[in-house]
Amino acid sequence: MNRFVGDDVYLHLETTNGAYAAHRFGQPMAVCAYIRNGRVRFERAAIAGNRPYRVGLKMEQGWIYAEGLTDYEVDEKGRLLLAGHDDEGRLAVALQLSRTPWPMSALEEEA
């Protein structure tokens, strides 16, 4: 994360309990929020906790925060993908950083 400090980066931040949370899984409601390609710059990046982890990115005017992160990878394009999966492998939270915009569709990426 420190490699992205001080630069303009594209953020994908998401949390979800699934579109069928209320229909099939007995939860009060389906909840999801995501930002794809928020352009941000942060001055400090820190990780805390012991699986699941928390991440805080401190910006000049604000914070980016995620909780429940369990896995990370750096892909072949140097993009950082952090995600939190439940015990059935379902994604519950994601925080991703890239120097180039995240594609809007896999078709676009191919073309």
Binding site: H12, E14, T16, N17, G18, A19, Y20, H23, C32, Y34, D71, E73, D75, R79, L81, A83, H85, E88, G89, R90, L91, A92, A94, Q96, W102, P103, M104, S105, A106, L107, E108
Partner: protein
């Protein structure tokens, strides 16, 4: 039980890879085996699916590519030779201009001239993308002269749809193609690993659990959506 016979062309209109198989694969297979050509319009690549496989075989960025491959495999099993991807994004279909989504569906309808259009029953799809896609399909069909309109076969995701719609118009016995149906569903590996473990457990358990699983899998139900204008 209704019989499935060859029809001029079957058009499926769904937002996500796996919608075409889950609860519908048997019917599609019966139609294509009878010699019906089939086209699938798939709105998105399910980019925001929560299931990543267990253990995870995908991440947020590789998921759409994996789901596209899974969809192509499922289409092969279903006998769908014509797949049209609209390139919309998961969870955002309802925020697109429905008339523009309808334009793209209409173009395909005019090209392949379907006699039956399968989609979710408008308003009863539970997932907002399901309802947005079926709504756009209805807009597209409405633009056609009445005599050229396909019959709309709607599937309902809500619990107890009979309470809203009455008995289904078509109840299809798909027990003769159950193995192929399961294969089409299983093609969507990233999405259904958890569900399949439970289904296979029930089938292996025998007795009442097996009977119940076979009954649920062996029957597919559709309500005709009637356009009154």
């Amino acid at each position: 039980m209704a019989q499935v016979e060859k029809t001029r062309h079957l058009l499926l209109v769904y937002p996500h890879p796996d919608d075409e198989s889950f609860g519908k694969a048997g019917t599609v297979i019966l139609f294509t085996r009878a010699g019906t050509p089939a086209t699938l319009i798939c709105g998105t690549l399910g980019e925001l699916g929560r299931n990543m496989g267990n253990p995870p075989i995908a991440n947020r960025e590789t998921l759409p590519k994996i789901r596209r491959k899974e969809l192509e495999q499922a289409c092969e099993i279903l006998g769908i030779s014509d797949l049209r991807l609209l390139g919309l994004r998961d969870k955002t279909v309802e925020f697109e201009d429905p008339e523009r989504v309808a334009d793209r569906i209409e173009a395909v309808i005019r090209e392949v001239k379907p006699s039956i259009l399968m989609t979710y029953y408008p308003g009863l799809g539970v997932h907002p993308d399901h309802d947005a896609m079926s709504n756009a399909a209805v807009i597209a069909v409405k633009r056609l002269p009445k005599e050229e309109r396909p019959v709309i076969w709607g599937s309902a995701v809500v619990h107890e749809p009979e309470k809203i719609l009455g008995e289904p118009d078509f109840v299809i016995d798909v027990s003769s193609v159950l193995e192929e149906k399961l294969a089409a569903m299983k093609a969507h590996r990233s999405q259904f690993s958890g569900i399949f473990a439970r289904v296979e457990e029930a089938l292996a358990a025998g007795g009442q659990a097996r009977e119940e699983a076979l009954r649920l899998l062996g029957t597919e139900r559709y309500w005709v959506y009637r356009i009154d204008d």
